[in-house]
Assembly symmetry: none
Homo-oligomer: 140 residues x 4
């Protein structure tokens, strides 16, 4: 058997708080989701003005990033028409997200969870997700 | 708590009537759906000759436009292969529509609902949706 | 090949209007859906105060009634634990409805469509659906 | 158009905090979800030890309570075998929850959102949801 480390609810709140602060800073209200290393939801917040559609999208970005151990934007080139992973974007009933804004949370080289952000442009979403991770890692 | 405005059924009927009149004018029978600001269906009509497949598509276009606060055609270029939002078209189980014909209904700067039209070309669908909105706004 | 008769949008509006009048009479705002003989949606209205959950339920009751050519409450006894059709209630992804409020619309002995009503008790839903049909048949 | 009131994210946090405090008190870690009046998710937390299966269940209980304007346990007797609403438990793809633990949040007689709790017994879930509402209403 193996022992793993994963995010707990307190960690999730720290990630959320730092992501939210960055969303406020850039003036884009966001949906923010935190998942554990198995891709399962720990915490979620839709800021006032965050898009209803983005609730599912943020959760699925976080699911993808943690469960596939990969930033969602890293699927970008591989999932394009003609590339080897073309078609992956509609896998798992559309839950596998290849749009930027989902990042794995990595501690000591291991994926311990993920964060997914949606409502802005993919670049804004990714920026806010990264701010959540940076803020969290600084507390360790 | 926050106070919001949203379309009611009477508004939905006005939107439907104006969209239908435009569909008649251009000779393309349509499926037309109206949702509230949360993306939930208020009213729907499939005109004689409207496509069965377009029932779901019209409802999902309206859902996307109201719940993402964005015209579906505005996802067009951003969701193309190679663009940042590529892959978004299969999000939310395929409900997120990037094909033209879904428009948010905006009153006093706030999204109060949406209209989704399908059965014609995306340009025809969008034209009919816009006619619905123009007709509705003229009654306010 | 065969020739069939089915409801058109004008018929659907007559059904809706009579059902709505009855809903007003009993003071229960309803979701009301009309489908054609193939189970495909023609028209839908959520009255102010109708439940958001009932949108899907009304559509699925109408789908079941028209496509299975059977009132949804007629599944009642057959779908009970121990009865032959036990388990049917979760068929078709849960779309097959065995709760009252879905009725086939029958003209000259043939099912030409369906009506589904939801937001009240099953008895109220069925009463409003029947009022829609009675009002419609009186116009033929 | 109509004007409605609904929960915002600050309200959702107050609901979550009071529910969590009660969960700690009874020693049962819970999944807790808050939705707005249209059934759309605002906030979610899975406490350490909360069940992974309960994430979806808590979200769906809150969806049902807010969007159907009804406590989920109130479906209990009506949805039993032989009762009028038997079969409703599998409606909306199984999202309609008839198990206790989902409560509408009612302010000034209007449903402004919902809370859904899962991981304990239905009675414990309902108790924790009620504690969230009691704590929230006391702050108004």
């Amino acid at each position: 058997m193996i022992t793993i480390k994963r995010l707990d609810l307190d960690d999730a709140r720290v990630l959320l708080a730092h992501a939210r602060a960055r969303a406020d800073e850039i003036g884009v209200p966001m949906c923010i989701a935190i998942t554990d290393e198995g891709g399962n939801l720990i915490a979620f917040e839709r800021m006032e003005g965050g898009k209803v559609t983005s609730s599912t999208i943020a959760i699925d970005k976080s699911f993808t990033a943690s469960a596939a151990k990969k930033a969602t934007h890293d699927y970008g080139s591989a999932s394009q028409p003609g590339a080897p992973a073309y078609g992956i974007a509609s896998a798992i009933g559309g839950r596998l997200m290849v749009v930027g804004g989902g990042l794995p949370v990595i501690v000591d080289g291991a994926v311990v969870g993920g964060i997914g952000v949606s409502s802005g442009t993919p670049a804004q979403d990714q920026d806010v997700a990264q701010a959540g991770i940076d803020g969290f890692l600084a507390t360790l």
